[in-house]
Structure formats: C-alpha cells, structure tokens
C-alpha cells in the first residue's frame, strides 16, 4: 500500500469510527463488503459521504453509491477523484 493510500485509509477509518464508535479499525477487512462488517444505515452512509466531502472536498455522486461496496472500493473512488486529471 502506498503512503498516500495508507494516509487516506487512516482518515476514512477515523471518520468511520466517529460515525460508528463501536468499530475497531484493525478488524475491518478492506476487501469485504463494508456494510457487512459495520452496522451502517442510510443516514450513517450519508454522514460518511458528507464527512468525505468536508475532509477531502470530494463529492461522490449518489449514482456511484451502489459500486462502493468495500473499503477498497471507497478508497479507489477517493483516490481517483483526488488525482488531478
């Protein structure tokens, strides 16, 4: 994992923990569906998306939600949107 990616992962995990305080960061498998591992309802998910916007200035359109299943998917999406085109 690159350093950028790791920093991004840490930031996303911190955000996730603020939304779902019972989450233990070490126990999340980044390749498995996130919502199978963390109890996130649609309001929590929206909080996460809003948090990413506030933290990184990245707006993820609603139409992309369905693709973002695992933590890795989310990190890929963020990296792609953060890279200068």
């Amino acid at each position: 994992m690159s350093e950028d990616r790791r920093a991004l992962a840490d930031a996303v995990m911190a955000l996730l923990c603020s939304i779902a305080p019972e989450v233990e960061p070490g126990t999340i498998d980044p390749a498995r569906p996130l919502r199978r591992q963390v109890d996130l309802d649609s309001m929590n998910w929206l909080d996460l998306i809003v948090g990413l916007k506030q933290r990184f200035g990245v707006e993820i359109p609603e139409s992309e939600y369905a693709r973002l299943v695992s933590l890795n998917d989310l990190l890929d999406e963020l990296q792609a949107r953060l890279q200068p085109r």
């Binding site: 019972e22 649609s42 309001m43 809003v50 139409s63």
Partner: protein, 412 residues
C-alpha cells in the same frame, strides 16, 4: 408562582434523575427553553419549560432521583414579585408540559393537574393501576421514597393474573442502563401486546417514480443537502394520515382521541442496543429539505443522548424503517397510547408487472399495525392505498401543505 414539575417523557417512564440544571435562581426563562437535563432509563433528556418566568427556587439537586410529577423548581410569572409572606397562601398555578393528546400549544396553555398525590404514586403507575382495577395506594412502593412505580403496579397485576412471568426485582440504582432500557421497552411492549387488539396490513409500493425524482433532485444539490428516501416516506405518511385521522392520536380513558397535528415518532436504534422513538413535529407542514435537516438532527441527537422533553412525550404515531438492515417487511408493536405504527422494509429491485410486462423495479413493502379499538382494516387499507398514491407523485410531497382537514371531521 409557577410550579415546574418533572414531566412524563413517555408511557414507560415513572421516575427520573436530575443530572443538571441549566438555570439558577434569578434567571429569566422563555417558554420552550431547556432548563434541566434529566436521565430516564432510556436517555438523558433536555427538559423544556412551558411558561415564561423567572426562576425562584431550585428544589431538587443534581443526582437526585424523583418520581414523575415531583416539584423541581418554582418560578415567578412575568410581572410577579417575590412572594410576600401573605401571598404564600395564594393558590399556585400549576404548569404542566403539554399533554401528548393536545396539539402543540400555540400559546401558553397551562393545564390544571390534580394536586400532588397524597401517597407517592407516579402518574404512570396510577393510570396503569386504574386500568387494571388495582388500588395503587395499597401497594408497597419500590421507587424513590418508597413511591409506587409502574413496575410495582405491573408486578401486582402479575401476581393476580395467572401469568407465569417473573416479577421484576426492585430497581437497583446501580443497574446498567442497557438493562434499564430493556425493562422500559419490555414494560411498554408487554402492555401494548396485552391491551391493544392489533391488526396488520401490508402493501408493496412501486418506488420507481419517487426514486427517479429524488435522484434528479439530489443530482443538482451539494452532498450536504441530499435527501434520503426515508424523508419522502415520512412526508407521505403524514399526508396520508390526514385522510385517515383514526390512525393518528391516542387511546386514552377508554376511547380514541384523535390528534390535530401529526408528530411522527421515528424509531431510532441506538448503537449500544435498545431504541428510542422521539417525535419529528408537524411533519405534514414541512418541506422535504426541512424534514431532512430535522431528521438528521434528531438521529444525531438521539444517538448522542440529547433529546428534548417535547420530543419524548408527544409522538402521535410511529414509523419504523428496518429496510437498511435488509428485511422485507416489519410488522411493529404499537407504542401505547398511540394507535398505529407504520413500517417500511427494504427498498429493492424486484420483479414487478407494469404495462403487462414483468420488469425489475424498485419497490418497498409498507406495513401498518393498527389498534382495532380506534379503526378497522378497511380504514387501514385506505391509508396504505393513499400512501401508495402519494409516493407515485413525489413532486407533490415537496410543498408545505397547511390545508389539513380537521381530524374530527371524519371520525365515524
């Protein structure tokens, strides 16, 4: 002189612990202002005052656990001067929080309460005892200062009834909140299942139009203003209830009392277990954007444990939405004294026949659990049909619609 008493924050509460005062003697307070923080078995609740005035004396100290109805503080009414010795005998004005069956008070509406009970019996316990035909004054109290609590009444009833259920042990002050909350939920739900003749209906509602409309609307908005489908459902339920007022209100004193406003209790699961169902007020009158803000705020505060007393005491109906967890449908247990509970299951694509062809379309299963003492299946079916129609015209849900028919108009 105004008396500020500990209000009941839900049918299952009969005592509370004062955690904190937000005011001190000499402070001027406004109607609706949060003046104290009180811990119930479910949550710490910000308690509002329902009268303008100036705080005269705080009578209960932080850390004290007292029954509902206990005098917490006295206030001077606007213009009133500190009590001269002769004024002492003047009758005191009693200020109660608005009773849940009343519309939100448009102006000050101090309801007269009976004088404090001679023998400490919490109001919830007395009401319950009346319903069960038990004399609460003859019971041994296990509450604060040996007051008779709801649990005491339930225990006495269980001794009389052939039920095998174990009676609750006396409450220990150190009991874990999770246990207390489970007990409070158990008491309310047992009462519901024992007393309310529930009937259940379900209807699968096509959501393609509503979701397409929502998606288009959200596309044009910054992420912080996006709406969740739950908001459309809330608004549609509120509007449908205006046409079927028998589902919105309370069963009290042996009869159904319709409510003029629609305050929807939203079942919110807490992260450490248990749930609360605080009210979103006047849902039918709000725009979707306002509802989304209020819902997000309510969920946040419920999970942070900072709800307001008015939110805890006055929902006129409840919605539970278990769709995010993936269930198809939820048939709820009505929260007394309410008479209906609306449930939503998972919003998902399913095979659906439209224009003579099977297509994959998003649908949601809406359910109604309702009280047969207040309505019949026919009216319940009309409600679900209305709900379905409203969700087919999502743009119509966005306008504030203050033209509510009076609920009395269509009682049978």
């Amino acid at each position: 002189m105004i008396r500020f008493e500990l209000p009941s924050l839900g049918a299952d509460m009969d005592e509370g612990t004062l955690l904190e005062w937000h005011v001190k003697p000499g402070d001027a307070v406004k109607r609706g202002q949060v003046v104290a923080l009180v811990d119930t078995s479910k949550a710490a609740v910000d308690v509002e005052i329902w009268h303008d005035g100036v705080v005269a004396e705080l009578l209960v100290q932080p850390g004290e656990k007292v029954p509902v109805g206990t005098l917490l503080a006295t206030l001077l009414a606007p213009g009133e001067s500190p009590a001269a010795p002769t004024a002492k005998a003047a009758p005191m004005q009693v200020v109660a929080p608005p009773a849940p069956c009343e519309p939100r008070p448009a102006k000050e509406a101090p309801a007269a309460l009976p004088p404090a009970s001679r023998h400490a019996v919490s109001p919830a316990a007395r009401r319950r005892a009346d319903e069960l035909g038990i004399d609460p004054d003859r019971l041994q109290g296990s509450g604060v200062h040996a007051s008779v609590t709801l649990a005491d009444v339930e225990a006495a009833a269980a001794r009389v009834a052939p039920a095998v259920s174990a009676t609750a042990p006396p409450e220990s002050g150190a009991a874990d909140r999770g246990v207390e909350m489970r007990k409070a939920i158990a008491a309310a739900m047992s009462r519901s299942k024992r007393e309310i003749p529930h009937y259940y209906l379900s209807e699968t509602i096509p959501m393609a139009r509503a979701l397409a409309w929502l998606q288009q609307r959200n596309q044009a908005l910054p992420v912080t203003e996006r709406l969740l489908p739950a908001v459309l459902m809330l608004k549609a339920v509120a509007l449908a209830l205006r046409r079927t007022p028998e589902l919105n209100g309370f069963h009290r004193e042996g009869r159904f009392q319709p409510a003029a406003a629609v305050h929807i209790g939203v079942a919110i699961s807490l992260r450490n277990g248990g749930l609360v169902a605080p009210a979103l007020h006047d849902v039918g009158d709000k725009t979707l954007a306002a509802l989304m803000r209020d819902l997000a705020d309510l969920v946040k505060r419920a999970r942070a444990g900072s709800l307001r007393s008015s939110e805890m005491s006055d929902p006129t109906v409840t919605i539970t939405n278990l769709g995010d967890q993936g269930v198809e449908a939820v048939f709820g247990v009505i929260y007394p004294p309410q008479v209906a509970l609306v449930g939503f299951g998972r919003l998902a694509e399913r095979p659906w026949v439209q224009d003579g062809a099977v297509q994959a379309l998003p649908v949601v299963c809406a359910t109604l659990a309702a009280d047969h003492r207040a309505s019949d299946g026919h009216r319940g079916a009309l409600f679900l049909a209305e709900l379905r129609e409203l969700l087919q015209q999502p743009q119509g849900l966005d306008a504030p619609t203050p033209d509510a028919p009076a609920p009395q108009a269509s009682t049978r």
